[in-house]
């Protein structure tokens, strides 16, 4: 079943899972920007229900891989498929209902209450003129509650702390009610307690059926909270599998150039 004949993204995802097709996949994916190869020849298949951490040094190509997987940049060669269909062939709003990406933390040009920001997650569903309908409001309320920011509902996003803002943007992505959730360094700028809270939230969402893909810098967090880790170095996928296989001492030393003991030291805190 493809998106053309599926009634809803959830149905397309279920059909893909049933048929053993990855819900999101890159095959022989390369991206070249301005003549420079950023990622090359990456094969990555994500099955429905996966919880995958993308790790790698700065500049390795993690964010570019995410951008290609979400249709922000076009592959220079290779393909990205969503539930078996080429991503570029699927209508943008359908993609947005299938695949939610937590926006980067950034300043809004105008003040906006938290509820209104989270409600932007319903844009892929809203008819052009009517605004939020009952189902949209319910999805917004549910997202706000799940992230635990009900007490911030009416506050202006711009006066919130970084951690609170990050939760607001995660709630926005959750309001999209998409089967796949993608995050790019969701714990950057956050203190240790907020980092752990976000990891727990992602785990919980995943256990309820959402496929989660996150770029993480913290290897200890990745190892502790993510059953599957994909490591990118110099634009290539160098390892993909459970933490004990991917994050071995030699690889940490060669890819990151640090003493693996430091990673284990930080792992003990999580």
């Amino acid at each position: 079943m493809t998106f053309a004949d599926a009634v809803s993204p959830a149905e397309a995802v279920a059909a893909a899972a049933h048929a053993g097709v990855p819900i999101l996949a890159a095959s022989a994916l390369s991206v070249t920007l301005g003549g420079t190869s950023i990622i090359a020849d990456i094969d990555l298949a994500i099955a429905s229900g996966d919880r995958l951490a993308l790790v790698g040094p700065n500049g390795a190509g993690k964010s570019t891989l995410l951008r290609a997987l979400t249709g922000m940049v076009a592959p220079s060669s290779g393909t990205v498929t969503l539930c078996g269909s080429p991503l570029s062939a699927i209508d943008r709003r359908t993609v947005a209902r299938t695949l939610a990406v937590v926006p980067e933390l950034q300043e809004l040009p105008f003040g906006m209450p938290v509820t209104d920001v989270v409600a932007l997650g319903r844009l892929p569903f809203e008819p052009p003129l009517t605004g939020l309908r009952g189902t949209d409001r319910a999805a917004v309320d549910d997202a706000i509650e799940r992230v635990g920011i009900s007490h911030l509902r009416d506050r202006d996003v711009r006066v919130l702390s970084m951690g609170e803002r990050q939760l607001v943007f995660i709630a926005l992505a959750l309001a999209q009610e998409a089967p796949i959730l993608i995050l790019d360094e969701p714990t950057v700028h956050l203190d240790i307690r907020h980092q752990v809270e976000i990891m727990r939230l992602l785990t919980e969402l995943n256990e309820r059926g959402t496929t989660v893909i996150a770029v993480l810098h913290d290897l200890a967090f990745a190892a502790h909270f993510f059953p599957r880790i994909a490591m990118i170095a110099d634009g290539r996928l160098v390892a993909d599998g459970p933490a004990q296989d991917t994050l071995d001492d030699d690889r940490i030393r060669s890819v990151f150039g640090v003493d693996p003991a430091l990673v284990r030291l930080s792992a003990s805190r999580a």
Binding site: P103, F110, G131
Partner: protein
């Protein structure tokens, strides 16, 4: 407030229309020849619907009401609405609270067009339109197009480039404008009055050109409210929310420029409405474009028509002067009183 307005859109619309009607009556009634509301309503109903209410008026009153004041008030409303919506579009798209309808160089383009028309030693007139109207309209659109092309089309992350290109192009156009003013000799006054802006040139046929153009533009912007909302979060987030950022940005910039060009071609450069109305509306109803666009239409229409009325009462001083003197202090007070939750 936002929630109350959102839950009763019909009530808001009715109240707004009533206020606009009252402004129309006041705008038509007040002036050097005062005309009673009964006469005004009588003439309007007679001319629009052919109704006769048993009220009598002199032919002079009919001329003043129907040929002079009604088109002038309606023109001010349409142009005010267009400039306010253009302001909403440019502030939202460029993610910049200081943006106004003229950021893409439309003002200097229109002014240069008008100045060239004045300086050229030829007189062309088609119906109610002279070379000045045509050149001002074309100049505004040309400037916006040039800025868009040279500014990288506002591609991803190119908003600052677009803004700065707008500034650069405006500087060049203004230089030519200054040159045109320098050589204009006795025609300088005509260029000057275009720069000041005003609605003295309003007429039915000019309204018949600008009105439909601006109304259709506003409707098309309203249809794109979702895209405007999504772009508040930046290009990447908008993309992930299913919005074709490049296409929507191009369409919205074109619509904003069209509304601005159609307005300034008739009225000259009118400031303040396009910058301030969107902010005031956002302070009241929050930033969602599905509310900000329609309410800005109403607020812009009201503000410019009310300001033009005051300007006329004060002996036809430039309407921009009235808006700045009365509006700016009000705006500052509003900014000071607004709570953090609806900070600008």
């Amino acid at each position: 407030m936002a929630a109350r307005i959102r839950s009763r859109p019909l009530l808001v619309a009715v109240v707004a229309v009533v206020i606009l009607m009252l402004t129309l009556l006041a705008g038509v009634g007040l002036g050097t020849v005062p005309i009673s509301p009964a006469e005004t309503i009588g003439v309007i109903l007679h001319r629009t619907l052919g109704l006769d209410l048993g009220i009598t008026w002199s032919p002079a009153v009919e001329t003043i009401v129907w040929d002079l004041r009604v088109p002038r008030v309606l023109t001010s409303m349409v142009i005010g609405a267009g400039l306010a919506v253009a302001g909403v579009v440019f502030q939202g798209l460029l993610r910049n609270p200081l943006a106004d309808p003229y950021v893409l160089g439309t003002a200097s383009g229109a002014a240069l067009g008008a100045a060239v028309a004045v300086v050229l030693p030829i007189q062309v007139a088609f119906l109610a339109f002279t070379l000045l109207h045509g050149f001002a309209f074309a100049g505004a659109l040309f400037a916006a197009w040039l800025v868009f092309r040279l500014g990288g089309g506002g591609g991803p992350g190119g908003l600052t480039r677009l803004l700065l290109t707008g500034y650069a192009i405006a500087s060049v156009l203004t230089a030519f404008l200054t040159l045109a003013m320098y050589v204009s000799g006795s025609e300088l006054r005509q260029i000057f009055s275009f720069l000041l802006g005003g609605l003295a040139a309003a007429s039915w046929s000019r309204l018949a050109f600008a009105g439909p153009l601006i109304i259709v533009t506003c409707l098309l912007v309203f249809r794109r409210a979702r895209a405007l909302d999504g772009m508040l979060l930046g290009d990447a987030a908008a993309h992930h929310l299913g919005i074709d950022v490049r296409r929507e940005r191009r369409a919205l910039l074109a619509l904003g420029s069209m509304a601005t060009a159609a307005g300034v071609a008739i009225s000259g450069l009118i400031g303040f409405v396009g910058l301030v109305v969107p902010h005031v509306v956002r302070l009241i109803v929050g930033p969602r474009a599905s509310l900000v666009v329609p309410i800005s239409v109403l607020a812009g229409a009201w503000l410019l028509s009310a300001a033009d009325l005051v300007a006329r009462m004060l002996g036809d001083i430039p309407v921009g002067v009235v808006m700045a003197l009365l509006g700016a202090p009000f705006f500052v007070i509003l900014l000071g009183r607004s709570r953090v939750r609806y900070e600008l």
